[in-house]
């Protein structure tokens, strides 16, 4: 009861200090506001950049790719049959063609779909062809895709600039062709393109769509057809594919998914981290920069708050001495100034949050028309908001604590005697 009353007095004194010199309180709050808002802005901007980069990279990169291409064939029939000491001479030795495709696609897809980390699975039949239109002949590649799963995984439908992606589903002789490839061939929507496979099969396809990814290499050389048509063209059955692509809910869990399924799958499994090490490095470097910059900002803000609290306390040194002479203990003084710091920290964190979101949304309106972007990217994360508020308040309290502790140790006699 008595303790409660005493704390009430301390709070009352703290509030009088805060309200009697409003400009000083406002300046102190602004220090926190600035730090917190810059922290939020920097992180939201960095997240935006990272997210854009990732979206771009993962627009045609699966988290895990399953194929049969890198399988090494160490089997040497000569060594297997004859004893090591045998001397032999084979001239003009030839290796037989190894299988580079997946014969049991449905089984692999089922295995991957059963993993709880897995979000989407799709299979592709990829092969190189000649695209022909009249006398024009261009070397390129065909992707036979499962249109729905492909779209779920890579958002292909959004990249189609003429026609409809989903038409691939039922138009078995329809083809969606890269924008520049179409230009090079001189074909438009609804024109026909003849394709010729390496094995000599030839078929006419109708251009039902034109696609523009942000990757030139693909736009210049690739066309998409239904996976069924692709199998038909190659004379393969419905269980055939050249690769199975897997996306996870959390793309950082690739290694554990690979470890869990490697045996059952029995094919080469390549994670995006292995396939794109520069992507991992760039993303990590950006995160380091973002952390370093926001830490520096908060540190500077922290020093600002420390200075202001120090100034406030130096200004109030006589009053602190009087309070002590009247019977306020060092603990009370600490309490009074920490209360002020906490109020400044809370107000600064809240206004900083608002300002940070304000600055970020303003920056998000700045035009920036490069690589599929229209404005500068901003991406908000709850974690950043929480970290900014917590760090803002903790910094303020710490910055207030040291001057307040100094104040609590003031010897009233020295001050009052002058």
């Amino acid at each position: 009861m008595a303790d409660k009353k005493k704390n009430k007095v301390n709070r009352q004194i703290a509030s009088t200090h805060l309200t009697s010199k409003k400009w000083q309180t406002v300046v102190a709050i602004l220090g926190v506001t600035f730090g917190v808002s810059m922290y939020i802005f920097m992180n939201s901007f960095m997240n935006g950049v990272n997210k854009t980069q990732d979206d771009l990279a993962f627009s045609n990169l699966a988290h895990i790719r399953i194929d049969n291409e890198n399988e090494k064939n160490d089997y040497d029939p000569v060594k297997a049959v004859f004893s090591p000491a045998t001397i032999f001479n084979i001239s003009g030795r030839k290796d037989i063609q190894t299988e580079t495709d997946i014969k049991n696609t449905n089984e692999i897809v089922d295995i991957m779909n059963r993993q709880q980390e897995v979000k989407d699975v799709t299979s592709q039949v990829n092969f190189s062809v000649f695209f022909r239109n009249g006398s024009k002949k261009i070397n390129g590649s065909i992707s036979g895709v499962d249109p729905e799963n492909e779209n779920r995984m890579f958002g292909s439908a959004d990249k189609v600039i003429a026609g409809k992606w989903i038409d691939l589903n039922y138009m078995k002789s329809g083809m969606i062709i890269g924008k520049e490839l179409a230009e090079d061939l001189g074909v438009k929507l609804n024109d026909n393109v003849n394709i010729l496979t390496p094995d000599g099969a030839s078929k006419n396809f109708n251009v039902i769509g034109i696609i523009e990814t942000s990757i030139k290499e693909i736009d210049r050389s690739r066309a998409y057809i239904n996976i069924g048509s692709a199998r038909q063209l190659l004379g393969e059955n419905f269980d055939y594919s050249t690769c199975v692509l897997v996306n996870l809910y959390n793309r950082d869990e690739t290694s554990q998914v690979v470890a869990n399924t490697e045996k059952a799958v029995g094919y080469n499994m390549e994670t995006w981290q292995d396939a794109n090490q520069q992507l991992v490095a760039a993303s990590q470097l950006r995160n380091i920069i973002a952390s370093a910059v926001s830490l520096a900002i908060l540190l500077v803000a922290g020093f600002g708050i420390y200075n202001i609290m120090n100034m406030t306390i130096n200004e109030k040194i006589r009053e602190i001495a009087i309070l002590k002479a009247m019977g306020f203990s060092g603990k009370d003084i600490l309490n009074i100034f920490l209360t002020q710091a906490t109020v400044i920290g809370l107000l600064g964190a809240v206004t900083g949050l608002l300002l940070g979101v304000g600055i970020s949304s303003a920056v998000n309106q700045v035009p920036f028309k490069v690589a599929g972007l229209t404005t500068l990217p901003i991406h908000y994360q709850w974690g950043d908001f929480a970290a900014a508020i917590i760090f803002g308040i903790i910094t303020t309290i710490l910055a207030g604590y040291f001057p307040a502790r100094k104040a609590s140790k003031i010897d009233p006699v020295v001050i009052i005697r002058g």
Binding site: A2, T16, I322, G327, V413
Partner: protein, 231 residues
């Protein structure tokens, strides 16, 4: 309210020795001993540098850097922790400084109420009522709601006196408590002090230059060169 018992000592000092170390070691108090009875109105006089203010700050429990023993109300305070001393000051000692020292951001009334709020033994209404009474006693009730920094020097000093009275401290100490007052107000304050001492048994100890002031007190201790030369 403190019971009036003139036969017990409100304050006992034994062989008080104190040094200043800055700029060089210097003995300010050279073994001061005396007692003050409950309900006594005491003045301490002496020239500048005689150590009388230093003595008062030791008596006030704020200065703990001394040798010897200090007891107030029969309680030995030498060697107590700062927190205990703070609590003791809050309840038992009222202090009037030489340069009035109010909290400038608070009103006169709030300044007077603060020590009582800190003590927390009365309700807010009681504290406010009592603060008004103290201010009226010093003819300041009309200034109660003015900011402390808006008052004249004399008014501030009287507010400080009202503040010193609020918790009914058993001992009131003043360092030139009437130094900023005109003769009329100075006399009024001295009358208040005498009433408090004689009717309510509160002990008053004042350091002063003013020989007229000293003459009106019950007893005068004179100091010179860190020693009590008469009492």
């Amino acid at each position: 309210m403190t019971t009036v018992n003139k036969n017990t000592n409100a304050l006992e000092v034994k062989n008080l020795v104190k040094y200043f170390y800055d700029p060089s070691k210097f003995q300010v108090l050279k073994g001061v001993s005396f007692d003050v009875k409950k309900g006594e109105f005491l003045s301490i006089i002496g020239k500048s540098g005689s150590g009388k203010s230093t003595l008062l700050y030791v008596l006030s429990t704020m200065d703990t850097d001394y040798e010897g023993n200090l007891s107030l109300n029969g309680q030995l305070l030498t060697g107590q922790t700062q927190n205990k001393l703070s609590a003791f000051r809050n309840e038992h000692i009222g202090f009037v400084f030489q340069f009035h020292y109010l909290l400038p951001e608070f009103t006169a009334l709030e300044n007077v109420m603060l020590p009582a709020k800190k003590l927390g033994k009365m309700s807010l209404e009681e504290i406010e009522h009592k603060a008004y009474e103290s201010l009226r006693l010093l003819d300041l009730h009309e200034q109660a709601l003015k900011g402390a920094n808006k008052l004249s020097g004399g008014q501030q000093q009287r507010v400080a006196i009202a503040r010193a009275l609020i918790n009914n401290p058993s001992i009131i100490m003043g360092d030139e408590p009437t130094g900023n007052l005109d003769s009329k107000n100075s006399l009024a304050v001295q009358d208040i002090f005498r009433d408090l001492a004689h009717e309510f048994g509160q002990t008053i100890i004042c350091v002063t230059h003013d020989n007229d002031f000293a003459r009106r007190t019950d007893r005068t201790i004179e100091m010179e060169d860190g020693l009590v030369i008469s009492h």
